[in-house]
Amino acid sequence: MTSKERVHAALRREPVDRVPVYMWYHPETTQQLAELLEIPAGKVADAMGDDVRQKWVGGNYAMEGIVHDQEGCTHTDFWGIEWVKLGYFNQIRKYPLQHTSREEILRFKHPYDKIETLLQQMEPILPLGDKLFIGCDVSPCAFEMVYRLCGMDEALMNLLADVELSKKMLRDASGFALKLAEMACERFPIDWLWTGDDVAGQERMMMKPQDWCDTIGPQLAKVVNVGKQHGLWVAHHCCGATRPVIPDLIEMGVDVLNPVQGNCPGMDPFELKREFGGELSFMGGIDTQDLLPNGSAKEVRRVTEAMLEGMTADGGGYILAASHTIPHETPIDNVFAMYEAAGISREEIFDRAANIRNNQAT
């Protein structure tokens, strides 16, 4: 089975040779694996046997796609958001619409003239699409983009204090994501459209679920719909305790939910599977807040095995992944333990790494 066939089959609940895997690593974790496997960082996913390749074509590119080599380096993205490298990621230093006037906010235009440039991020992975499952990430899709423009406090307060402005900003933000999604779906032979919009914390959603339904949900739905119209799977990323809006996500057409933080209230993966598994697939669930950094390899293996069994009880609908990027304090053996549980042995990984080295030498 190719990776592509495997992921499609899993999402259709058809038999697979092994559960598909799509792991996200902290850059430092990638580096550790690269050193251990003696391959370039860019080849780690190949060696590990991950089934999905994906690129950001939306605003996330500015956060993680642009890699400065020096701490404190800055850049301004197409939206006028100023980023600064802090540790391994770029963080926002200046929100272009924070503390500005309502008029200025109303005048703001998303960078439609940069869509071509953004879409070009997909080029390097497109040739891999005969074997691998290819995704295009247009996140952040609604609220999170508004937050990047005017800061978290204003983005949240406007949801109640200036609903009209809030709705307009959300509409504009999702309008841009929608355009990206449309062009990506029309132009590229992708397998899923990846959407995302972080609106929940560890204990509960950031805003009242009803307020999300009234303001954010309908905008997000338009972006999801683009993927559905093109006959694609649609995945959605939202961290934390998102349970209250899962039925809404399903209704708008989301097929895959990520990252499933099982230790948040209402997010027990098995419970979610029981309740929503008929309509929804899951990607994630292996805890990065305690199990992966603090647990033993044996525990990780046991938990992962139980996860695979429980989450594929109906014959599929699960992609193995951690509940976010694997933090670099995670012992490398714990990473291998997850793969082993999925039937990808350490030997197999090292063999693939050796092949990668040989191919590069010739």
Binding site: H26, D153, M157, Q202, R204, M206, M207, K208, P327, H328
Partner: protein, 211 residues
């Protein structure tokens, strides 16, 4: 007191203009700033905290109430200082080195301010040394550390250690919080307390301040 009900309700519903107007009116009527604070603003914020704890309020409601509170506090502050009214305690809060998550830390600050504490915000990505330095400069009673990443939790321990090597550990209490943080972790690194959310944080701060 009956006459402060409207002020309390304006805090609860986050009406900043109304809070400003009412606070000013009480001051014009000759009410002491301390009374307006203790009977208007603080009880209003206590209800806000309770509603958050009970799941009725979410972050936007909290932020609106905080904004309204600040309008009131700004009017009262010079008068409180002039009449030498002391805050419940002084708290330094910040997100630890390498971590920029600040929504939770900000909510904790809001609740503390609303509880009559003076809060000094050290911001995000704060190094252990900066915490020690700022704590000294402002002679705070409590230091609140926030971390949202397992990767940055060790910086909490380093901050506790920095206070020790500075010799000022016993002058302050340290409380910690953030998504991956637990009571066990607080015990392990020798912090004085942990709170799971902003409403519990204020109870913890009261305990630590001995009020």
């Amino acid at each position: 007191m009956e006459k402060y009900v409207e002020l309390q309700e304006s805090i609860i519903s986050g009406k900043k203009d109304k809070v400003g107007e009412l606070t000013q009116r009480f001051l014009d009527d000759g009410r002491p700033a301390k009374e307006i604070l203790d009977e208007g603003l603080i009880p209003g914020m206590a209800v806000v905290g309770r509603k958050f704890q009970e799941g009725e309020y979410f972050i936007p409601e909290m932020l609106l109430s905080a904004r309204a509170l600040n309008v009131g506090l700004d009017l009262l502050k010079p008068l409180l200082e002039a009449s030498d009214v002391k805050p419940v305690a002084k708290v330094l809060v910040g997100t630890v080195k390498g971590d920029i998550h600040d929504i939770g830390k900000n909510l904790v600050s809001i609740m503390l301010r609303g509880g009559g504490f003076e809060v000094i915000d050290a911001g995000v990505d704060v190094s252990p040394d900066t915490f020690v330095q700022m704590a000294k400069e402002s002679s705070v009673d409590i230091v609140g550390l926030s971390a949202l990443l397992t990767t940055t939790m060790p910086s909490m321990q380093e901050t506790v250690e920095a206070f020790k090597s500075d010799g000022s550990r016993d002058k302050i209490k340290i409380m910690i919080g953030g998504a991956p943080v637990t009571t066990e972790y607080a015990e392990k690194i020798g912090a004085d307390g942990y709170a799971q959310n902003a409403s519990l944080a204020i109870e913890m701060a009261r305990n630590l301040a001995g009020v």
